[in-house]
Structures are given as structure tokens and as C-alpha cells.
């Protein structure tokens, strides 16, 4: 078939199609695709242009353009005519059950959300908030916190070293020292932040995590206040019925020291949630506070641990994978 013949054939087919449109056996969209679509009949004809010798191309192109414009015009007219005749749904029957236009909203990371919630709770009892560096010197991470150079307690801290005197902080306790170096007591501070441990990565451990440290220094701060504060927080965070126990432990920078477990009904076991204690007099001395005058307590909560308990997350690695299937659960 020559191109001319084909053009005529398409023209004829189009006419038939328009008829069937009017008697409703074809939709407007069907016809648009059949003739004007990217793989439609008109495009098919244009594709044949490249088969023609160069001398015939201009005239053939002109013909095809005319065809397209002509058919398009007919199509538009018919469509207009149709629209004026097709029945529109009555106002009463517009389908409000169709979904609304979606609006995407992002999500706050559970670590951020948990830290914010913790800050809010402690701010109600007068804790201010301070921050400190993630890379710090030996003095602030260890020495001033009463870790003598060869003390076995340093075994408990699986530390990343940058050089012999510089570490990725192993706890937010370094902020305690920075604060006390720069301020006179009394103090009541919360210190959230990221900390690092040189630990093999597993569902339980990651090479970094977040802590919320607390420090309260005044003349008459006691172990009773420490317990009161920790329980106050636990009840706000986990509900009035939270079951907790304080057991003796050891940290170089507190004495007496305690670890606090809360009862996990689901796992039927105690889960450690915070390490705490009364600030060791040596720490006060290292920052120039007189331990005969000042007393205080400090605590360090693991943020991931709290988020894991609260949301029942069973793998700590999920926090750092940026998997939107995880993130979008925290709306």
C-alpha cells in the first residue's frame, strides 16, 4: 500500500471510530490512544517517513501533518459535542469516597523523638540541657572522671582511639566535666548525645549509640533524690506501674553506683536501663568543686535501649540503616 492509500485508510477508520464513539461502544480515551498515542496509527505513519527517499520526504511529511491536524480537529469537535451531551453526575452524587490528594509527610527518627521526650520529662523538674564534643581528650572522657591511667575499669570501655590522648567519647559523661569546669554549682543538667564503643556489631550492639546523661549538684543531694528522680522519669516514660530495681554496681565516677533494671513482661526478664550513682568526690576535686560542700548524682540512660523497650524493637541496627520501611513507622 502506498502512503497515500494508507492515509486514506486511516482517515476512514477514524471516521468509523468517531461513529462508534457517538454510539458509546468506544471511549474517548480508546480513540486518543488508537490514533494519537505514542504508538498510535498516526505515529505509525510518521514512522514510515524514514523508508521514503529523501526527495519524497518533504511532501509526504506535509501530507501527514495535514492528516494529523485534520483528525485532531475532528476529534476535538466530537469530544466537545460529547461533553455537552454526556450526563454529568448530579451534585449529590459526586464520589467523595475517592481518595484525597495525598500529601507526603516525613518522620522524626525514633532516636530524636525519644531524646526529645526525655528532655521534656526532665525539663519539668528543672533540668537544663547541654551538649559536648563527640571526639574528646583523655582528661574529659577518663581522667577527670576518676579513671586512673591503668585502672581495670578501662576494660569496660571498649574505646575507639584517635591517638593515645584522644578518643571517640565512650559516654556523655565528658559533658559533665566540661560543664563543671565552666560553671559554679549548683547545677541541674541533662546531656544528650552520641557515644561510641568498639564493640562487634550485632542485633544487640552497635559501634555507636546515644545516651542521655544527667547531673545534679547541690549541697544536699542524696541517694534518695537519685532514686526519686530515676523513678519519676521511669514512671513518666513507661507508665505508673513500671517495676524497677536498683542494684549496686561500679562506675569510676560515681559512688555509691547503681544500675537500674526494669521488668520486661514480654521477655520475662529484667532489662538494664540506666547506670547511675552519687558523684565521686574525686570527680568534684578534678573540676575544683569542694567535695566537703557539694554532693550530687549523675545518671546515663541508653536512648536506643529505651526506644527498643518502648516500641519493642528487637534489632539495634535498624536505627542506623535509614530503611524507610522502618522510619515510616514512627509517624
Amino acid at each position: 500500500m502506498s502512503l497515500d492509500q494508507q492515509i486514506e485508510a486511516v482517515r476512514e477508520q477514524f471516521r468509523t471510530s468517531l461513529d462508534s464513539l457517538l454510539n458509546d461502544s468506544k471511549s474517548v480515551e480508546d480513540i486518543r490512544i488508537e490514533f494519537f498515542g505514542r504508538k498510535g496509527k498516526i505515529a505509525g505513519l510518521f514512522a514510515r517517513l524514514k523508508e521514503l527517499p529523501a526527495s519524497e520526504k518533504p511532501s509526504a511529511g506535509k501530507l501527514l501533518n495535514e492528516l494529523r491536524n485534520n483528525l485532531q480537529q475532528q476529534f476535538d469537535q466530537t469530544q466537545e459535542k460529547l461533553e455537552s451531551t454526556t450526563s454529568k453526575p448530579a451534585e449529590d452524587y459526586f464520589d467523595y469516597t475517592l481518595p484525597g490528594v495525598p500529601v507526603k509527610r516525613g518522620t522524626v527518627h525514633p532516636i530524636q523523638a525519644t531524646m526529645d521526650e526525655m528532655k521534656d520529662i526532665f525539663q519539668t523538674i528543672g533540668f537544663n540541657v547541654a551538649y559536648g564534643p563527640e571526639i574528646d581528650d583523655d582528661r574529659h572522657n577518663f581522667e577527670a572522671l576518676n579513671f586512673p591511667p591503668h585502672h581495670p575499669a578501662r576494660d569496660m570501655q571498649d574505646t575507639f582511639f584517635v591517638d593515645k590522648q584522644t578518643v571517640l567519647r565512650t559516654h556523655t559523661s565528658n559533658v559533665q566535666i566540661h560543664l563543671m569546669e565552666n560553671q559554679r554549682p549548683p547545677l541541674r543538667y541533662l546531656m544528650p548525645g552520641k557515644v561510641y564503643r568498639n564493640e562487634a556489631i550485632s542485633f544487640k550492639h552497635y559501634c555507636l549509640f546515644h545516651q542521655v546523661e544527667g547531673l545534679y549538684v547541690d549541697k544536699n543531694v542524696s541517694f534518695v533524690d537519685l532514686k526519686g528522680t530515676v523513678y519519676y522519669f521511669l514512671q513518666k516514660m513507661f507508665g505508673k506501674d513500671v517495676k524497677a530495681r536498683f542494684r549496686p554496681s561500679f562506675f569510676p565516677f560515681t559512688e555509691p553506683s547503681a544500675e537500674v533494671d526494669i521488668w520486661n513482661e514480654q521477655r520475662n526478664q529484667w532489662m538494664e536501663i540506666v547506670g547511675c550513682g552519687m558523684v565521686d568526690p574525686n570527680v568534684f576535686e578534678s573540676v575544683g568543686y569542694d567535695p566537703a560542700v557539694w554532693h550530687g548524682f549523675a545518671f546515663g540512660f541508653g536512648v536506643e535501649r529505651i526506644a527498643m523497650l518502648k516500641y519493642k524493637i528487637d534489632d539495634i541496627r535498624l536505627f542506623y540503616q535509614s530503611d524507610v520501611r522502618f522510619l515510616e513507622q514512627f509517624k
Binding site: P99, V101, P102, K104, G106, T107, V108, H109, Q112, D116, G126, N128, V129, A130, Y131, P133, E134, I135, D137, H150, H151, P152, D155, F160, D163, Q165, T166, L168, L187, Y189, K194, Y196, I201, C207, L208, N220, S222, F223, V224, D225, K227, G228, Y232, R247, P248, S249, F250, P256, S257, A258, E259, H295, Y320, Q321, S322, D323, V324, R325, L327, E328
Partner: protein
């Protein structure tokens, strides 16, 4: 530390179940990690199958007569390997098997069975359920199964904090139980030999060259020992405590270590031919092959035990291979010493060798326990290895270890505890802790801690002990807050919450990426990253210098998990090493964002969602700054960036805040990520953003609402392609000053009729005065001026 409960009973009465004991000790500071309950077997004995007859009603069952030495029982058995004359184990009626199963008289298919013949699995000896346990034919009948197959003892594994070396022993744990329960602690009764005997001095001479490293060294000789297996009770206890039995001599050494917590060492006397033991500093580069057959290279911080010529042990850490006990050893030299904790710790650390002995020495062993441990080893060598002690004990004690004298005030206890603990209780606790005390005045005690508590040095250490024994759970819970503290600054990151919320509102998911990266990734932007000395792996050896790399990785992860359309952001610290050393590390808070794929997913109202583009990200950023009320942020091209193929600086009043751009596919390849469709990212200095936002908040003032109407005009300019919209806006701003309310481009049109390299842009300009209604004339004048200047300065042409 694993403690066998049966072993504790040598020293203190135990009434609690293993779980109760574990809980009690946990609340005393010894955290129980695992409790192994004892498996008990009762009424199971060896017996001979005397007859095997078919069961009248079941093909697979046999009717057996079984003789346990005192009676014959009819027992029904289904095991295929049962035969007459077989000796096996019979669980008699009333027997208790491991796991709690009880054996009763049973009726099986019409016949009665009085007991059960056992397989290995039923006794938890192995998983084998193949058939009956087949014992040698000469096994005596009626023997209790417990004698043949001792069941594991109940044990508790504790995590002992490093301040409590005294609890790394059964005796130490028993002492804590006695202290808490008020029960009596029964020390070992030891035979200490005659007091003035000195025969041993003919055998060995002790020379301490380094008394700082070795304040005390006790030695003695036991002859005629016979190396052989240890008795079952010892094997069982050692196994319960996690120690494999080797032979009686090695076992005795380990047993005393676990019992009293004091390490000791047993040398084969043949390997001390010089008849002397010299304790000295190792020389640099000196070597010794230790018991585990590894040659260890030493330096001068190590303490060596030598025979005056050859090293025979690394003091407090591990014995030498050559001097160890072998099957033909007959005479042994016993060492029970006290070594300096710091020296042992340094030595153990530099060798990377931690042993049961070094663990105790480095935490602080008991210098007084050396003697008890010595006699305990000697006594056991006599009892269990047939040895005879050479009379006497050499006690070289050049440097006495003194305990401090501490004043303990009740007033301070009350202050720290915050609750009343009576003086009587305090005195009782002090005694129970082994602390010698005198009441110096009412409510004040002069205390000397026992030598096994090197951690008790100060008053606060004693206060901690008092509260610990009193019970942390007995301290009341009273939240008590008063007083307003004038603390500044207030939470400097408070405004960050608002920024996070804006980003979330714009559809971004907040991420927390790993701050540790490979050298390649961390160095991909040309900055020097902070490097770790001891990384977990090469993939995590450096600190990140930017946040976008983390988000790019996150986007790839999500794309590979079926989520190609992402909006991600992160706020966190980045680090650069600007000069060597700690002071050269610069830590900065950043915020980064990344968009990929399409703006949304296809849905009913939008069949073709737009692809994320540069202008989308620019729009998000403009929305962010707008929400923060920060105006005047500009974006200008920046050619110097590896990360972006089209990069732009984000700046405010000449200050560079960060950058944004289209991620360069080559950069993705460089950091090991797959190429993909357009990714557009930004990264800005969050510290600065917070400062600027905080200032903005402080400077925020109310603007009076203008009552005069605004007038809008459209103006259509034909411009050269290289003229940017911003140039026109600036020109209009300059002319209109504070009468300009807003100018915005509405449409760009290109057509050959305009001429090549030309475009026509329609701007909508709105004018408003806060003082009067603008007249047509005002507007016309201003428009004329705008058009004239646009023609002059920008070569524009008015299109009508």
C-alpha cells in the same frame, strides 16, 4: 565467675534455691547472668536383666525380669537392644529423672511394669535414644546412678565488677552471703606445718630483685607426689565452675584459685636446678615460651620468675612451658605471691594475654591470702597426690602492704544516703565486711578495711558499702525538687526541634547514619578525615566529613528495597582533621537532605508524578528558610565540587552556609554506589543555621498591617538568554524600594519570532504603600522607569 552452690556450702549455710541466691547476690552488686539448676537423679541404680520374655499383647514390647541386687522387678521394655544378662540402669518405682520425670508403677497393654530401664538420653548423658544403656558386665548391681554418672552441680554465673577482686572466689561469694544473711562464715581449717621448721631452705632460696613488682613471695616444696586423676568431687566442682580437669596437680592449683581467689603456681622442682627463685624485671627483648606453647617477647615492664638463669614464668600471668608439671613430676615448688596490680595489668595488656591469675592480680589480690592459699595447696597435694611437704615455708615479704585508716562519720552517711541508717546497723555491717573498727566518738568510727578489699580507701567507699549492705531497695523513693537554678545558656539545640518538624512537614524522613566510614568515603571530598587507631574494620576506620554520603547510601539501600522515591535528611556531627593532633580536629553540626525519584507516587489524582529536580530541592530549602523567617538566602554556582555535577553555594549576607546540587554520577561511583536517576542534595552548617535562626527569633517584630490596596501589573520583557530572572527582580527592587510588595516570574516563552537566543518573560509586580493609596499615575511612572532601566541595563525589550 561461675560459682558452684555445693562448693559454697563448705563455707556458709545455703537455704535458698539457686534462683533466690542469684537474686540476693544481684541485689548485693554481683549481677547473676545465668543460673544452672542442678539435675537430680533419685532411685536409679545399676541392675541386670535376668530374663527377657515376649509381651502377651504387644509385639514390640518385652516383659523383663530385672535384678537390682536386692530384689527382682518385672519391667516392660520397648528397647530393641535388650537382652538377658545385660547390665543397665533401672529407674525404680518412685525414681526421679533429670528434667523432673517421675517413675510410677504402670500398666502397659494389660501387664504391669515396676520401673523403667533407661537410655542415655533419659539420664541426659547424651541425646542417644538408640536403646538401653549398656554397662560393662562386671558392674556391681544396686549402684546409685549418681555415683556412675555425676550430674552437673547447680551453679550461678556472676558478672563481678572490676572493683571487687575479693568476689572472684567461692570463699569471697560465701562471705557476701554470710554478710547479707547474718549466717556464720566458716573458714577453711588448714594444717600449717610446724612454725619454726626451716628444712625447705635447703631446697630453695627466694631472691626478690624487684620488690615494687613483687612485695611478697611465699614458696615451699612438696615431695613424692604422684600425678594422676583428681577425685570425682573435685572434677565435678571444677567443671561446674567452668574449669576442665587436667590432672590432680593442675586441678589442685586451679581449685585453690577458684576457692580462695588467690592465684598460685606449681613448678616442677627439677626445672629449678639452681635451687633458687629470682623475681626480677624482664629485659627488653627477652623471650619465654609459655604453657600454651607460644613464644612471648617481653619488655622491661614485665615481671619474670627465673631460676637465676632461665625464666620459668611470667609473674602473675602464665607459667613457662619448661617448668610445668608433667606425668613424671615427683617434687614440686609451690609459689603463692602477691604482685603489684599495675605491673600485672600493663604486662597482661602488652602481651594481650589475660588469664585467671592476671585477672585477679591486676584487680588487686589479697596480700594476706598468700599464706592460706599456700597451705591449702600443700594440704591438698598431701591429701590427693600423696605428697609430703618439706617442713617450712619461705615467706619473702620485703614490702608490707598497709591498709588505710579511715574515719567514717554517720552524718556523712545520712547525707549521702538521704535516709536514716542506725548506728547499730552500721557497726554490724562494718564487722560483717571484715572491717576492723573503733568508735572514736559517738557516731564516728575509725576503720581499717581488710586486706582483701583494696577498693576501700576513702570514707565514701565505706559509705557505699553501708548503703549496699543496707539494700538499695530499702532506700525510699522521694522525688524532691525545689529551687530555680539560674543556668545559662538554655538548651542551645531547642530550635532544632522546629527545624526537624519543618523538614518532616516537607516530607523528609529523618535518618541517623553511621558516623564511621571507610578512608575512601570519608576522604571523598578532599578533606582530611579523623582516623581511628583501632577501627572495627576498614569500612569504619574514619570519621565522616559530611552527611550527604550517608544519605546517598541510605537512598541506594531503599531503592534496592523497592523505595525509589525518597526525601531523606539528617542532622549530626561531622569531623575534619585540619592539623595533626586533638586540637586540629574540627567538629561541626550539619544538616543534609537528599531527594530522589518522583515527588510522589502515582495515584488517582496524578497519573504522572513529577520527577524530583533541582527546583524541587530549591523549593524545599526556600520553604525551610521561609518557615524559619530567614530571608536573603541566595544560591550561586560553585564549580569546585566533586559531589555535584551542578553545584551551588547557599549563602546569606556573603556568608557561605552550605551547598546544594545535582549529584555527580562519577562521585557515586567513587564512593562505591550504583548510578541511578537524578539525585539532588544539600548540606548546610547547622550550627550557623541555629545561630541565625535564634537571632531572627530575637529580632522578630510585628509589622503593622497595611490598609491601602495593593496594585498588580504584568510586564512582559524580551531578554537575552543569559539574563537571569534574579537580575530583573533586583532591578525592580532597586527602583521601587519599599513600594514593591512582590515580584515573581509567571511565564517564560521562547519562539523564533523573538529572535534566536532570546526569551520572553512575564513578571507580575505588586506595589503597595503603607502610607497611601497608590494612583494610576504613580504606578505608570514606576513602570515606565522599570522598562527604561531594563532596556538600558539589561538590553530588554518590552513585548506588547
Amino acid at each position: 565467675m561461675i560459682v558452684a552452690i555445693d562448693w559454697l556450702k563448705d563455707f556458709v549455710e545455703i537455704k535458698e534455691t539457686p534462683q533466690e541466691l542469684a537474686d540476693m547476690l544481684t541485689m548485693l552488686g554481683m549481677e547473676a547472668e545465668a543460673v544452672t539448676a542442678a539435675e537430680t537423679v533419685e532411685n536409679v541404680v545399676t541392675a541386670r536383666v535376668s530374663e527377657v520374655n515376649p509381651h502377651p499383647n504387644a509385639d514390640r514390647l518385652k516383659l523383663c525380669l530385672v535384678d537390682d541386687g536386692s530384689a527382682t522387678h518385672q519391667v516392660i521394655c520397648g528397647a530393641p537392644n535388650v537382652y538377658a544378662g545385660q547390665i543397665s540402669l533401672l529407674a525404680r518405682v518412685g525414681a526421679k529423672l533429670p528434667g523432673g520425670q517421675k517413675i510410677k508403677k504402670a500398666r502397659l497393654r494389660g501387664s504391669e511394669s515396676f520401673g523403667m530401664l533407661c537410655s542415655e538420653r533419659e539420664l541426659q548423658l547424651s541425646d542417644s535414644h538408640e536403646g538401653l544403656l549398656d554397662l560393662p558386665s562386671d558392674t556391681a548391681l544396686g549402684l546409685d546412678a549418681n555415683e556412675l554418672f555425676p550430674q552437673p552441680l547447680a551453679a550461678i554465673e556472676f558478672e563481678i565488677t572490676p572493683n571487687r577482686p575479693d568476689c572472684l572466689s567461692h570463699y569471697g561469694i560465701a562471705r557476701e552471703i554470710a554478710l547479707k544473711t547474718g549466717r556464720e562464715l566458716q573458714p577453711l581449717s588448714l594444717r600449717r606445718g610446724k612454725e619454726n621448721a626451716n628444712d625447705v631452705e635447703d631446697f630453695v632460696d627466694i631472691i626478690i630483685d624487684d620488690s615494687e613488682g613483687c612485695p611478697r613471695y611465699i614458696a615451699g616444696i612438696v615431695e613424692n607426689i604422684k600425678v594422676g586423676p583428681s577425685p570425682d568431687w573435685m572434677v565435678q566442682r571444677l567443671e561446674a565452675a567452668g574449669q576442665r580437669s587436667i590432672n590432680n596437680i593442675v586441678d589442685i592449683s586451679n581449685y585453690v584459685l577458684l576457692e580462695l581467689g588467690h592465684p598460685n603456681h606449681i613448678f616442677d622442682y627439677r626445672h629449678v636446678p639452681t635451687k633458687k627463685v629470682v623475681i626480677r624485671r624482664a629485659g627488653k627483648g627477652e623471650t619465654i615460651t609459655t604453657l600454651d606453647d607460644i613464644e612471648r617477647k617481653l619488655d622491661d615492664q614485665h615481671l619474670l620468675i627465673t631460676d637465676g638463669e632461665q625464666p620459668i614464668a611470667i609473674a602473675g600471668i602464665m607459667g613457662g612451658e619448661l617448668s610445668g608439671v608433667t606425668d613424671d613430676t615427683t617434687t614440686v615448688l609451690i609459689e603463692s605471691a602477691y604482685f603489684d596490680p599495675v605491673r600485672i595489668r600493663k604486662g597482661s595488656k602488652s602481651l594481650g594475654l589475660m588469664t585467671e591469675a592476671s585477672r585477679r592480680f591486676e584487680r588487686g589480690a589479697d596480700p594476706q591470702a598468700t599464706e592460706d592459699a599456700f597451705w591449702r595447696v600443700v594440704n591438698l597435694l598431701e591429701e590427693l597426690a600423696g605428697g609430703q611437704a618439706v617442713p617450712g615455708m619461705i615467706d619473702a615479704y620485703p614490702r608490707k602492704v598497709a591498709m588505710p585508716l579511715i574515719t567514717l562519720r554517720k552524718s556523712e552517711i545520712d547525707l549521702i544516703a538521704g535516709c536514716e541508717i542506725t548506728s547499730d546497723r552500721i557497726a554490724t555491717y562494718l564487722s560483717g565486711l571484715g572491717i576492723e573498727w573503733q568508735q572514736s566518738q559517738s557516731d564516728e568510727w575509725l576503720c581499717t578495711p581488710p586486706s582483701f578489699r583494696p577498693d576501700l580507701e576513702r570514707e565514701i567507699d565505706l559509705i557505699e558499702e553501708i548503703i549496699r549492705v543496707y539494700g538499695y531497695d530499702n532506700v525510699p523513693v522521694i522525688p524532691n525538687y525545689s529551687g530555680v537554678y539560674d543556668q545559662s545558656p538554655q538548651d542551645t539545640l531547642k530550635p532544632l526541634t522546629h527545624i526537624v518538624n519543618i523538614m518532616v512537614g516537607l516530607g523528609f524522613n529523618q535518618c541517623y547514619s553511621n558516623s564511621l566510614q571507610s578512608a575512601d568515603v570519608a576522604g571523598s571530598l578532599g578533606q582530611i578525615p579523623v582516623e581511628l587507631m583501632n577501627p572495627l574494620s576498614e569500612e569504619m576506620s574514619h570519621m565522616r566529613t559530611d552527611l550527604l554520603t550517608g544519605l546517598l547510601k541510605a537512598d541506594e539501600f531503599n531503592r534496592n528495597n523497592g523505595h525509589p522515591n525518597n526525601r531523606l535528611f539528617e542532622i549530626g556531627q561531622v569531623f575534619t582533621q585540619t592539623q595533626p593532633g586533638f586540637k586540629g580536629i574540627v567538629e561541626e553540626k550539619r544538616m543534609a537532605g537528599l531527594i530522589s525519584g518522583t515527588v510522589g507516587t502515582q495515584h488517582f489524582h496524578d497519573s504522572e508524578p513529577a520527577k524530583q529536580s533541582f527546583f524541587h530541592l530549591k523549593g524545599y530549602l526556600e520553604a525551610l528558610f521561609n518557615n524559619l523567617d530567614i530571608s536573603g538566602v541566595i544560591f550561586k554556582p560553585n564549580s569546585e565540587t566533586a559531589q555535584f555535577s551542578h553545584g551551588f553555594d547557599i549563602s546569606l549576607q556573603e556568608e557561605e552556609l552550605g551547598s546544594l546540587g545535582i549529584i555527580n554520577p562519577d562521585y557515586l561511583k567513587k564512593i562505591g554506589l550504583e548510578e541511578t536517576g537524578a539525585l539532588i542534595g544539600f548540606e548546610i552548617n547547622a550550627d550557623r543555621l541555629l545561630d541565625i535562626y535564634t537571632q531572627t527569633l530575637e529580632q522578630r517584630r510585628y509589622q503593622r498591617i497595611t490598609v491601602f490596596p495593593a496594585v498588580a501589573r504584568d510586564i512582559n520583557l524580551v531578554l537575552d538568554d543569559n539574563i537571569m530572572v534574579e537580575q530583573v527582580s533586583e532591578l525592580v527592587e532597586n527602583i521601587s524600594g519599599n513600594l514593591l510588595k512582590k515580584i515573581a516570574p509567571m511565564d517564560i516563552f521562547r519562539h523564533k519570532s523573538l529572535g534566536s537566543g532570546k526569551k520572553s518573560i512575564t513578571f507580575r509586580v505588586e506595589f503597595q504603600s503603607s502610607e497611601r493609596t497608590l494612583t494610576d499615575d504613580d504606578i505608570a511612572k514606576m513602570m515606565d522607569k522599570i522598562i527604561a532601566e531594563a532596556e538600558n541595563k539589561l538590553g530588554a525589550e518590552l513585548r506588547t
